[in-house]
Structure formats: C-alpha cells, structure tokens
Amino acid sequence: MKHIDAYRNGDLARGLAATIAAEAKPERQYNFMEFCGGHTHALARYGIVDLLPANVRMVHGPGCPVCVLPIGRIDMAIALALEHTAIVCTYGDVLRVPASAGLSMQKAKARGADIRMVYSPADVLQIARNNPSREVVFLAIGFETTTPPTALVIQQAQRENLPNFSVLCCHVLTPSAIGHILTSPEVAEWGTLPLDGFVGPAHVSIIIGSAPYEPFATQFNKPVVISGFEPLDVMQSILMLVRQVNTGRAEVENQFTRVVTREGNRAAQAVCEQVFELRDSFEWRGLGEVAHSALQIRPAYAAWDAEKKFTLPYLRVPDHKQCDCGAILRGVKRPTDCKLFATVCTPDNPMGSCMVSSEGSCAAHYTYGRFRDIPLVTHP
C-alpha cells in the first residue's frame, strides 16, 4: 500500500536503530513521552522497544480518547439508551468500555438498549432520518482529529432541521492535556520522571497544525517532535528528540511533514470554531479535571446538544483505588508495578484508563508486551 508499506521497512528500522544507539549518549538517560495512543500502539505492535537502546525510555501518555473518556460520560450514554429509549450511536472503540453497575454499552445492548456502532458520524444522521419517531444520539468522542466530522454533522442536522438527532459531545483537546501533565498538582504526589521531550501527535496536528505546541517548547523548555504513526516515523522522531537533547535545543520539529503543516487544516478549524466552544473544565479519566481541555456545543446549536436536550446528571465514577494509572501516565511506574495488572485488571475487565483500549499503556503491554517479562524460548 503506497504511503504505508514504505514506512514499515524492517531493514531501514535496523539502520535507524543503530543510528539512535550511536547518537544516544551512554552516560545519560532519555525519557520521552509519546502523548498519543497511536504511538504507544506502534511501539508495542511493531516491537520498536526492542530496537531502542536501554537508556532511551518511552513513557506512554494519555493520548487515547477512549482511555480518557470518564466512566460517567458512558453512564450518560447508557442512560440515554435505557431510560430515554434513544438510539445511541458511537464508534466501535467505545462499546466495550466498562461503565457503572457492571454495564458497558455492549452489555447495555444485551439488556435491551438500542446501541449502534457507526463508522462515520454521517451514518448517525442517516439513522436519525430513518427513525423519525426515535431520538437518535451520537456519543461523540475524540481529539481534534475527530472533532471536525462531528461539527459537520451538527451543521447538517441544523440545515435539515432534523429534530430527533443530537450529540453527546465528549471531544477533548490535546495541548491542554500535555500542559496538565507538566503542571498538575498531582505531580507532587507521585513524584515525577523528568521528561526530556515529547513525541507529538500526528493526526491531531493535521487539523491544528504544529504551532500550538510551540508554547511547550518555550515555556517548559521541552523538545517536541510531531511524528507520524508509522513505525519508521516514530523511530526517526525519537532520533530527532535525541539530537535536540544532545544539542540542548527545545523546539517544535515536524517529522510528519508529508501531512502536517504549521497552520493545520483551516477549513476544519473553521467548522469547529462555528459549532464548538471551550468548556471551563472536563474530567479526563486518569488525569482528573483539566481546565479548558474539552469542547461543548455552542448555544446556537443547542437543539442538537444532548446535554441540553435531555436531563442527564453527570456523576463522577472513580477508578479502582489501587489503580496506578496516574503514576504510569507520568512515567514513574510501569504497568507491571500495578498490583491489579493482569489479575483483576485485564483488557476484558479494565480497572483504569490505561487498560481500556489497546492504545493504553497497560493494555499495550498486556496485549503485545507480556513476553518481555519472561525469557524468550524459541526451541525446546
């Protein structure tokens, strides 16, 4: 596949690995956080970790919109389906996330809720048109990448004056989360691993551009490299970070130049600006309340805002007390340090945000990395 396969080449990977090993100074430790679950996934699935020198450590960030979706928001969606008998549509990723009372959207479906998986927000509009006598709600999740398509369907619903369609908006913003990780008071509680730089979002940056990361470089003196999600992209970005550290720079660099610009997608930004506005605060699973970190639907589109249309109390649901996600997300613990890992907490029954989707650090280690905990035996 053009523009995909070339970025997964194993020979080049070995070459890049050797270059990283050669340039990483043996006397120091490099701790880089990849914000995005997409990078976490690539690291685990392609076994990139095996190609990095021991002193280059990747810390998995909170960048998976499914992982950070708080349980209380899923509870709201389930209540819409079970109590308001709405058709609730969402992306496949969300269906299995555990909610309160032993439910998940999938289990609520088994109890009679009309829950439907969609591939695109446009499918939800079609479902609403096909079911004029039912309320149809789209549980919209995602970072800046996923927000513009949601904005488009809200505008389309307004144009069609579709009365039975609405959106439960859970869109969140990446820069605020990165800032939070660097500044939140919890840092004191857990201690913190000095982060030497960030692997920056790929697809989020297509929309917002690379400019929004510049304050991190300047204010916090942290290098940021916007990186594609293919494994060679990630390796090159790591090399770029190593080089910034080695030369004492703290800049925003763009490895993903084939798609990301400094300005981002102006058309998409404009649509989002019309439909959404900043929330004062929003709860992130694993991080807690983060100020100005999420979007809500503007009053002009209130008729399509499920939170305005339905009485939907939001109840905060804490994760398991022993869940170490907070520390893991800041790099001070690893999944295997958590008592619940692979016992009470598995991808089938996640207890914390890091286990929810295959992009969470605990889930990625469970699914792809557990073999690292034992010696490899290839022959008897």
């Binding site: 990139i48 190609l51 992306y91």
Partner: protein, 353 residues
C-alpha cells in the same frame, strides 16, 4: 357418490414470490411440502430419500468416527464467494477434516424466520447442494423449524458432519510439542473481510471473495505425505482468526509458539480493508485455511504436499513450537521487533483509534 376419492392435492410452492410462514414449520402438510419440493429436490441422495426422521448409513470397517457440528448465523446471508448454504457445508466438513478424518455424511437443521423469501431459501439450499456434491459428502438428514418474524435473521443453519479416521491416526490440538513446526495453508482474513465488505454502514468496494472451501482433500494429501503421527495438529482458523486458533493450540498442548510475521501472507485487499477499519488480519476469520503443527523432520514434505494442492499453493512455515509455561504465542515482526499475539478479546470491532 363418486367411487374414487380425489387424491390429496397441494399447490406447488411459489418460489418466485412465496415466503416462509409459520405453517412451514408446524410439522403438517406444508412442512412436508417444503421438505419435498425444496430440500429433497435440491439435496437429492439415497439417504435423504429414505424419508425417515433419520438416515441409515454405511461406514467402512476398522475406523473410528469423527463428529463435528457448527451453527451458522452469518449476516449478510449472501457474500462474495459464498453464502450461508455453502458455508454451512464447508464449516462443518472442515472441523471433521481437522481431526484427520474423511468426511462421509452431513446433517442440516434449519431455523427459518417467518417472512423469509422462498427464492432466497432456494438459492441457499442450491448452494448447499452444490458444495455438498463438490465435496462428495451428502446431506443425509435434516430438520426445519420456523420462528416468528423478529426471532430469527432469515435463516440459521446448523450442520453436523461425521467422518472416519483410521484407528492409528491421532490428530489433536493437544499434540503440539516444542520443536514442532507451524504451517499455514495460505493467506489470511479473506472470509471475514469479504463478509464485512457487505455490511451496511461498513460497506466497501472490493473484489475480495471469501476463501470458503472444503479442506478434506488438502488434509488427505498432507497425511499421505508423512508417516502417522508426524502431523500433530490441524485446525481451521475461523472465528477469532489465526491468532486465536494458535492460542487455543498452545493452551491445549501446554506449549508456546514463535511466529515470523513476514511468513504470514495477507492479500493487499485484506490489508487495505483492515487498515481502513482498524482491524488486525490475525483476528479475522478464514473458512478455507488450515494451520498444521508438524514434527520438524516431516515439515518440508508436508509443506510440499500442501503447496502441490490447489487449496494450499500459498502455504508457508509461519513459526515453531516452543516450551513456554505461559503458552504465549509470540511473533517477530516484519519490522524487526517482537510482540505477543494474544487471544481475540471480544468481537473484532472496527476502531477509530
């Protein structure tokens, strides 16, 4: 008064516009008519024609019996490369074949939904008949029930197959041993992605067809290529895909496996569709592929026999069996790293992240 009563007359089934109604499942005249004018007609063979509620069958002496069953509930019913009729033949025959057996007979039980078009049912039964004749395995007995509209999905078909295996043939998922070789008969994920390509809301354009096929002749060729006992395990990686099937085997045999990703063939269309939907071909269903665990000394000759068979021409060695108390299936990636290949958890759902 007439001296001759008129014989009981029944208007023939309307295969153009007719639909299944509750009467077709009630066990009376209409049920008998459906059996005669559709099932017996299409699947015609001497056993079915015995006309009893079961079939009397001959089996060769000096064998053990293998019995396997599968319920088929696929949606959509018709998909590129097959339909629920052919699938219900292949799916069960293959489970019989995976124990090294020669499949001899099939039974079929239908759960029809009220309102199902007779034309569609006829097409499905014809396809089943074709698959059964092509495989040389007749459907010898059956049953039909009708459920109310909204309690079915057109048609569900449960098939059971029986076959025979020589007394000295012992193939099982429990037989894999460290040092054995893992063979795969061809590229993966075609059935699952062909079906998914037809799902409303996911629909994508593709010339991809299901790999649905009866594997018993391939199995026979493989068994002929090595002494008894050399082929330890055979299994068709259906629901759950290759990944889950290999995990089943490592758990059942209490071993581990180490795979080479670059030995596992994936057609570009399958790869493309999987990328698009966020799926992993390792977890996508196949219906015409098999995995074999073979002792190392005979792996080459078994692999050669596979490659010489039309259903195994793209066969490859994909890994080796290891000693591993955790029964992990591990894989060296094409990229040069290593990962676990875990069981499928839940359904393989299209993802956005």
């Amino acid at each position: 008064m007439n001296t001759t009563a008129k014989a009981s007359y029944q208007r023939p089934l309307d295969f153009k516009r007719g639909r299944i109604d509750m009467n077709h499942g009630a066990g009376g005249r209409q049920a008998a008519q459906l059996i005669e004018e559709l099932f017996v007609q299409a699947l015609d063979n001497p056993y079915l024609r015995q006309g009893n509620d079961g079939a009397l069958l001959d089996i060769p002496a000096g064998h053990r019996l293998v019995m396997a069953t599968d319920a088929h509930v696929i949606s959509p019913l018709f998909f590129p490369g097959g339909d629920i009729g052919s699938l219900s033949v292949h799916g069960t025959l293959n489970d019989v074949a995976m124990l090294g057996a020669r499949p001899l007979y099939l039974s079929a039980s239908f759960v029809l939904e009220e309102g199902f078009a007779l034309a569609d049912l006829q097409r499905i039964v014809a396809s089943m008949a074709h698959a059964s004749r092509e495989a040389g395995v007749p459907v010898v007995t059956g049953d039909t029930k009708v459920v109310e509209r909204g309690k079915g999905d057109g048609v569900y078909i449960s098939t059971t197959g029986i076959g025979v295996v020589p007394l000295d043939c012992h193939i099982s998922g429990a037989n894999a041993k460290p040092g054995d070789v893992v063979l795969l008969s061809g590229s993966i994920g075609e059935h699952g992605m062909a079906v998914l390509s037809q799902r409303e809301s996911l629909a994508f354009g593709t010339t991809l067809v299901s790999d649905s096929a009866a594997l018993h002749t391939l199995v026979a060729a493989m068994l002929a290529a090595a002494p008894n006992g050399a082929v330890r395990t055979l299994r068709d990686p259906t629901r759950g895909g290759l990944a889950t099937t290999l995990n089943e085997i490592t758990r059942q045999s209490a071993v581990g496996m180490h795979l080479q990703e670059d030995a596992i063939a994936v057609l570009p269309q399958v790869a493309g569709a999987c990328e698009l939907l966020g799926l992993d071909p390792l977890y996508i269903a196949n219906e015409g592929k098999l995995v074999a665990v073979v002792d190392a000394p005979h792996a080459a000759s078994v692999l050669a026999a596979m490659q010489a068979h039309p259903l195994g021409h793209a066969a490859s060695q994909i890994g080796v069996v290891t000693a591993d108390p955790h029964h992990f299936v591990q894989m060296s990636t094409r990229f040069g790293g290593r990962r676990v290949v875990d069981w499928l958890s839940g359904e393989p759902l299209p993802r956005i992240c």
